[in-house]
């Protein structure tokens, strides 16, 4: 009962804020456009095997590097495979890389960030220093180096990207926890003798979720670009499974003979990254209290 009474105003306020943020988000045309792109990509990724017009893996040497036609809307690649089908299946690779990498980054980064912010002292110093050291090098370089040492595969690329992106969440979560930790309701929960894990899960995590969600959306965009970059370098998804970056990598050998081969996968990367960036920017504006 005490807990219910204590949580009620906070939850009502949070629910009102969420409704307000959703309203702002839906009123933002750029965000809706971004959301449309993201949903389209998600649809392609989830229903890839139902909507692909051709087999994206099996070569067809009679159709090597054909231009766009009524049968093959975006043409065929160097092994005669339908580019549209490969792009649809590629959406699955890119989005899974985005979701899994961002998931690893959010979970690991936030876990250590909350720990550093809540525990303070030596734990905070050690975690913060490690996060600073990882942030000291450009994200993509860390991902490339990690992927090199882990070996070329999509799973390893996702782990590498997730680990490289995690320190941003550590810093963000830590700074948010430091703010929340000093609030009256956390102090009251402590005074009531609640255990630390209960305070963290019930009082701190819900209140630091908004900025983490915004950052996660922007990290999705970063992760899609990073996966495409690693695949472009041959460190991501391995042939014959399609990925937009790997498709660009093979297409760059045919710039004069078949420029279309380079156009479509790049456009797909650009649009999906743009979609997540638009949604992330709009979420940040909608959830930022300074915009009130």
């Amino acid at each position: 009962m005490t807990l219910a009474l204590e949580q009620a105003p906070v939850e009502v306020l949070a629910a009102t804020k969420r409704r307000g943020a959703l309203g702002k988000l839906l009123a933002n045309k750029a965000a809706l456009f971004g959301l449309f792109i993201v949903v389209t990509c998600l649809f392609c990724a989830v229903f890839a095997y139902w909507i692909m017009p051709y087999d994206p893996i099996k070569p067809n040497y009679a159709l090597v590097r054909k231009p766009a036609s009524a049968l093959h809307w975006l043409g065929t690649d160097e092994l005669g495979r339908d580019i549209l089908s490969r792009m649809i299946l590629g959406a699955r690779t890119s989005l899974s890389a985005g979701f899994v990498s961002a998931g690893i980054a959010v979970f690991l980064g936030s876990f250590f960030g909350v720990l550093a912010g809540y525990m303070g002292g030596a734990v905070d110093v050690i975690i913060s220093r490690v996060a600073d050291a990882l942030l000291a090098t450009p994200f993509l370089i860390v991902a490339i180096v990690l992927a090199t040492f882990l070996g070329p595969s999509l799973i390893n690329a996702m782990i590498a990207i997730g680990l490289a992106a995690a320190p941003v969440f550590t810093r963000l979560a830590r700074s948010q926890v430091l703010d929340i930790k000093a609030t009256d309701y956390v102090e009251s929960a402590r005074a009531l003798g609640f255990k630390d894990w209960r305070i963290i899960i019930h009082h701190i995590v819900p209140n630091i979720a908004a900025p983490l969600i915004v950052q996660a959306t922007l990290t999705m965009a970063q992760a899609i670009t990073a996966e495409a970059s690693l695949s472009f370098l041959g460190l991501g998804e391995q042939p014959p499974i399609p990925s937009w970056g790997a498709m660009l990598n093979s297409a760059k050998s045919y710039l004069t003979q078949a420029p279309g081969m380079s156009l479509w996968p790049g456009l797909a990367i650009f649009l999906s990254v743009l979609g997540f960036n638009l949604v992330g920017d709009a979420l940040r504006d909608a959830l930022d209290p300074r915009q009130e």
Binding site: A133, P138, I141, I269
Partner: protein, 317 residues
């Protein structure tokens, strides 16, 4: 100046553990490798005596902290190991390739500053206008477009179709300055485009912050021309944070250079990293990672000090 000294010393002292922890990471990466590194070194010779001798020679039987201290000591003396492929010293290889990437990074920064800062100033001065929306849209395009794809598209348009500039290759500036510029324009523009978007966003927000200040309102009330208010009063004060952003972006360019150099076949630092990745030349990968990290940390340090020099309020506090 002397008042700044304690801050500078403190800032340098905080950078040192960051460098040490980063070096630790780079060292531990090699330990992530599956299998015994000695087997790779020995090649065909799997004689146990040879393997044991190699382990002793490379101190691989020592405890890990001791191995790290030895490696870090060598790195401090400039010995980053030897390339497995051509048996050249890693430091020598880096010294050969770094000037090419630095030239690319500086040219790209020039492009990004030339595009991003004026666009940001104009967007902030005309907030909410068509120009503001256009500039913000362009910035979003800049941060969303994958550099390697933009490079490929520009090669198709500018080099393959219009035959205006070479699609790839590199000529050292000391040998053929004209050809050097011709080969560097496209990659520098591609890299600069991505950074211009970020710089534009920062310039816009920094300018908007300053344009809200009372002294800007006073300057306007005194009847000063808008151009003077924006450039002489607002921009000067918005400049300090931009120095930090530009320095950080210069570091980020090294990451972008990896892909851009690959697309345009420029024999720089980034291409060396990719080649080392494919040749499993781990000493080179480690050396490049270490140099990039340390360079990035030092660049941030310099940017912080520069910001202090530019901002009298920071000096006072």
């Amino acid at each position: 100046m002397s008042a700044m000294l304690p801050y500078v010393v403190r800032r340098v002292l905080t950078a040192l553990p960051t460098i040490a922890i980063f070096a630790c990471f780079v060292f531990l990466l090699q330990k992530l490798l599956p299998g015994d590194p000695v087997l790779a070194m020995a090649g065909e010779d799997r004689d146990p005596a040879t393997l044991a001798a190699l382990r002793v020679q490379y101190h691989l039987n020592d405890p890990l902290p001791l191995q790290f201290l030895r490696w870090a000591g060598n790195a401090l003396r400039g010995n980053l190991g030897e390339s497995l492929r051509n048996h050249d010293s890693v430091l020598h290889l880096i010294a050969q390739k770094l000037p090419v990437t630095l030239e690319l990074a500086l040219l790209s920064t020039l492009f990004s500053v030339m595009i991003g800062i004026p666009a940001g100033i104009l967007a902030a001065a005309k907030k909410g206008s068509l120009w503001d929306n256009f500039a913000r849209g362009t910035a979003l395009w800049g941060v969303s477009i994958p550099t390697f794809w933009f490079g490929i598209v520009l090669i198709i348009i500018v080099s393959v179709n219009l035959h205006l500039l070479p699609a790839s290759g590199y000529a050292p500036i000391s040998e053929d300055p004209w050809q050097n510029i011709r080969t560097m324009i496209l990659p520098a523009f591609v890299l600069g485009n991505a950074q211009a978007g970020i710089l534009m966003r920062h310039t816009r927000s920094s300018m908007l912050e300053v344009l809200r200040q009372d002294y800007v309102r006073t300057a306007r009330a005194k009847g000063l021309p808008e151009l003077r208010v924006v450039m002489a009063h607002a921009f000067r004060n918005a400049l300090a944070p931009l120095v930090t952003v530009t320095a950080v972006l210069l570091g980020q360019l090294l990451a972008g250079a990896v892909l851009t150099e690959q697309v345009f076949s420029i024999p720089g630092f980034g291409k060396m990293l990719v080649d080392a990745v494919f040749n499993r030349d781990y000493a080179v990968v480690q050396g490049v990672a270490l140099c990039t990290g340390v360079g990035f940390i030092l660049l941030n340090l310099l940017a912080d000090i520069a910001q202090l020099l530019l901002n009298p309020r920071l000096r006072a506090s």
